[in-house]
């Protein structure tokens, strides 16, 4: 019985992974199209990212050793693993473990793995890119943490599934209405998490020739693309679950995710990139202030849980 159950979960997990990947790629494609239209051009087809991924996986590539390979796999597997704990619409594969902080830390493992892979290539460009990515992470994770903690205090639970159920019953129950400042901070942090401008210092092609991806080609770049796409799905999905009340079905979930991504794309289109220290200290100013203010408001409203 356990085996059957395991197999069912396994196939469901594959399904979720494929779905997230497809959605992420599609979002990427639509994002490119929207970007093209803002830039007054026609733009690539929606399906361009799929074709790119397929091509990358079928193209030859170079490896700098097994740490390089292991890093790339370690950069993509935990991202997929984190996905299994995310409530997608009404469905969660492993609802009993959907702890928010755990998901955040699993995502960090993906970064750790990716960092190991690209740094094993021994290119200083990727080292600079990685150092920038990590510095930026110190920036955006801190306000995001403040928001997570205020959601914890507000919902009195750490399960994403329960946070979603608590928001059931219409727009007025959504956390975005109850914690608008926190949402704002999250939206800014999301821009950093997705690495879109003005926070794309890590790849900055003109400065460090696409940074961490310098030595990646073929399937390695493909794995990076999968990681990015799944990460896009995961990160927007977390924000939807936290603030936009989850969704009754998959399509509405995707629609809500897309709204978030759309805002990100618009900001991406009109802003250039900041310097790295400016970006980091930016996160420590306005978004952190908003996040902490939100937490203080929640605490004042009586959210302290006396133990």
């Amino acid at each position: 019985m356990v085996i059957v159950e395991f197999l069912i979960k396994l196939s469901q997990g594959f399904g979720i992974g494929a779905l997230a990947l497809a959605t992420g790629l599609l979002f990427g494609g639509i994002g490119r199209k929207i970007m093209a239209r803002i830039q007054r051009r026609y733009g690539p087809p929606f399906t361009q990212n799929f074709m790119d991924l397929f091509k990358l996986l079928s193209k030859g590539s170079v490896s700098h050793g097994w740490a390089f390979d292991l890093g790339l796999v370690a950069g993509f597997a935990p991202m997929l693993a984190a996905l299994m704990f995310l409530p997608i619409g009404p469905f969660t594969l492993l609802p009993s473990d959907s702890s928010l902080i755990m998901i955040v830390y699993l995502m960090m493992m993906a970064y750790l793995g990716m960092a190991m892979g690209v740094l094993a290539s021994g290119n200083p460009n990727s080292a600079i890119g990685m150092s920038r990515a990590l510095m930026l992470m110190v920036g955006y994770e801190v306000p995001f943490a403040a928001v997570i903690f205020s959601v914890y205090l507000f919902s009195k639970t750490g399960y994403l599934t329960q946070i979603v159920t608590q928001q059931a019953g219409g727009f007025m129950n959504w956390n975005i209405v109850k914690m608008p400042l926190g949402f704002l901070a999250t939206e800014i942090a999301l821009q950093g998490m997705l690495g879109e401008k003005p926070f794309d210092q890590a790849i900055a092609p003109a400065e460090i020739a696409s940074g961490p991806m310098v030595e990646l080609g073929g399937k390695y770049l493909g794995f990076g693309m999968i990681q990015h796409s799944v990460g896009l799905f995961l990160e927007t999905g977390i924000v939807v679950d936290l603030f936009l009340g989850g969704a009754p079905n998959f399509w509405i979930f995707i629609a809500k995710q897309f709204v978030l991504y759309f805002i990100v794309i618009l900001v991406d289109a009109i802003l250039p990139r900041l310097r790295i220290h400016e970006a980091t200290s930016f996160f420590w100013k306005l978004p952190l202030f908003l996040g902490i203010l939100q937490a203080v408001i929640v605490i004042i409203q009586g959210g302290v849980l006396n133990v």
């Binding site: 700098h64 740490a67 993509f76 693993a81 299994m84 009993s96 290539s121 200083p124 150092s131 110190v138």
Partner: protein
């Protein structure tokens, strides 16, 4: 009852034997290892509640001394001795100048500390531990620097000791006894009447503990000492010896659990202050760590940053806070041990502690590399390795109190820990391999066994945390708090949610297998050497590009350093560096006045302490 005494006597005998046979390196090491193992065997003989008392007539006073086993002490004993076995086993193949007899003396002292029921025994064990470790640090590679480091450590230790001694005399004068238990209950009793009085006495003790754990603002000795201590001793110093302070805190923390004192956010304000000390330590440690270029110093800062986490958690003194703190103490022992053992393995192979001179070692030492990788993943708090659960619980413990600022600070420290770990990882193991390390080999078989053991332990205690949480629950229970519910070895129960680590482990494993399968199925790759690298089209040979010149690891986070520099300048660089320097200056001055030989100075200092003790004795 004999086994209690055996825990003290066996190490002392072993120490004597090791001291006699000091000239035969291998024999000495073997004795050290065997003594640790034998001591560990005696651990199975003892159980909670075992007690041994004796009376000592000294200068006309009758002192009751004793040894007792509590859940906390047995937990600590297991932790320290087990780690000691691993370390001494590893040291069998290590060539550093560590003196086994001093390590065994330290072990005896530490066993005494954990079991002592009276303040006199506690104090003497504390001093024994302190001085034997100080003598150990003299044996560092660089003589001048290690003497300097030891001196620094000694100065701070003596300061802590004096402070504790005054506290002990004050306390015994009030109660007329040296028993820890009766003193603590006396303090609890008068807390409502004379809170300031109690606070003053307890602070005297806390200073000693903070010094030993390297808690902000008494952390200044940590990098000096860790940086200069013999390689083989550093893991013990950072993983085990820093925990004595935690043990000390735990003796006095129950004081404020009563509702007699004003509170902040439902937390007694001394606890609140202690929590802030912890949080600031965590942040300061992390921030200072990512500016280091010396690997031992980096992990010294890392170590005291983690001590900050532990202190912040236990300062809450709630079931979850205490559990989280103790759990983190255990995890810290584990991952810090793994990190330091791999680091000293690398140091012994490459012959430098400067990270920017290393790089690319993963090709030469794959197992060490993997152990280190899992070690830093655990240190960064990544599931499913040991280290995740405790950090996760600490955050929940903090946030359930609404301590948003402290929690955000701790989270910042946690993310910053990611930075310095990654930097060390990159600078030591990844990047370009310099040609001067072409002959570097993987560690010996003994080293491999140790590493595999640590690797296994990091994963085992990561996915089955119940084996640690059970004894911790009994500790929590012994402090009169209601332990967290348990529901199997694979579960961690937090305040807001609980986690099944095995299921996470399975998910991660499955995704990894899937990842590798996908990796194998899609197009083939070509293995190229690291020299064949992107150089923006320029031919490397034309520019005489060597691997060292294509490796970026110095000043890795320079923009961040610049951003944080103003804070450091004001807060730490200014005041505490001055503080540290003045301490050094005094030490230098004394050294100059006396013979110039630090060892003799040390004996003089010990003599001074003894005179001080006797004087105190006579006065009170």
């Amino acid at each position: 009852m004999n086994s209690l005494l055996a825990l003290l006597i066996v190490p002392v005998i072993g120490s004597a034997a090791a001291a006699v046979l000091q000239r035969y390196r291998l024999v000495e090491r073997l004795i050290t290892f065997l003594t640790f193992s034998v001591t560990f065997l005696f651990l199975f003989e003892i159980k909670i509640g075992d007690i041994l008392t004796w009376h000592l007539d000294f200068l006309g006073k009758n002192l009751e001394m004793g040894l007792q086993i509590t859940p906390l002490s047995i937990f600590m004993l297991y932790m320290t001795i087990a780690f000691g076995i691993v370390l001494t086993f590893y040291n069998l193949s290590e060539r550093s100048k560590m003196k086994g007899f001093l390590l065994l003396l330290t072990l005896a002292a530490s066993n005494w500390i954990f079991m002592s029921t009276d303040l006199i025994g506690f104090f003497f064990a504390w001093e024994l531990m302190g001085w034997s470790s100080i003598l150990m640090i003299f044996g560092g590679k660089r003589e001048e620097e290690s003497r300097h480091g030891a001196l620094y450590y000694a100065m701070m230790s003596i300061g802590g000791s004096y402070s504790m001694l005054i506290g002990i005399f004050l306390l015994s004068n009030l109660t007329g006894t040296f028993s820890i238990q009766s003193n603590v209950s006396y303090l609890t009793l008068i807390l409502g009447l004379h809170p300031w009085w109690v606070l003053g006495i307890v602070s005297l003790f806390f200073v000693a503990f903070m010094v030993k754990s390297g808690i902000f603002p008494f952390h200044t000795w940590v990098p000096h000492t860790y940086g200069e201590a013999p390689d083989g001793f550093v893991p013990y110093l950072s993983s085990v010896m820093s925990k004595y302070g935690v043990y000390g805190f735990l003796i006095f923390l129950p004081l404020t659990s009563g509702a007699h004192v004003p509170s902040v956010l439902g937390l007694a304000w001394p606890n609140y202050v202690l929590l802030w000390f912890g949080s600031v330590t965590a942040v300061a440690g992390s921030v200072l760590a990512f500016m280091q270029d010396d690997v031992k110093k980096l992990f010294a800062y890392s170590s005291f940053s983690n001590l900050g986490f532990i202190l912040a958690a236990i300062a809450l003194f709630t079931p979850i806070g205490l559990t989280a703190g103790m759990f983190h103490a255990f995890n810290h022992l584990l991952f810090n041990g793994a990190i330091f053992i791999t680091v000293i393995a690398v140091i012994s192979k490459v012959g430098t502690t400067r990270m920017s001179e290393m790089g690319g070692i993963w090709q030469k030492m794959p197992l060490t590399f993997l152990t280190f990788f899992v070690g830093i993943a655990a240190a960064a708090g990544i599931p499913p390795f040991a280290g995740f659960g405790s950090k996760w619980m600490i955050f929940q413990a903090m946030i359930s109190h609404g301590l948003i600022f402290a929690t955000v600070l701790l989270f910042f420290a946690s993310i910053a820990s990611f930075l310095y770990l990654m930097r060390a990882f990159h600078a030591i193991f990844l990047g370009q391999l310099s040609h001067k390390y072409d002959n570097v080999k993987e560690v010996s078989a003994i080293g491999k066994i140790t590493e595999v053991f640590l690797l296994g332990a990091l994963i085992f205690f990561g996915i089955l945390p119940g084996f640690v949480l059970d004894p911790i629950n009994s500790i929590v229970n012994s402090f009169g708090l209601k332990p967290l519910p348990t529901s199997g070895y694979e579960y961690i129960n937090g305040f807001f949610s609980s986690i099944n680590m095995v299921s996470i482990f399975i998910v991660v494993i499955v995704t990894f297998i899937f990842g590798f399968a996908l990796f194998a199925v899609v197009a083939k790759h070509k293995k190229v050497p690291q020299e064949d690298n992107y150089t923006a089209g320029q031919i490397p040979q034309d520019w005489n590009l060597t691997p060292e010149m294509y490796q970026f690891s110095y000043d890795f986070y320079e923009p961040m350093d610049k951003e944080l520099a103003p804070f450091l300048k004001v807060k730490i660089d200014g005041f505490f560096k001055g503080f540290g320097e003045s301490v050094e200056y005094i030490g230098e001055a004394i050294k100059e006045i006396f013979t110039g030989n630090v060892q003799i100075y040390t004996y003089l200092a010990v003599g001074g302490l003894v005179i001080f003790v006797i004087a105190g004795w006579v006065v009170w």
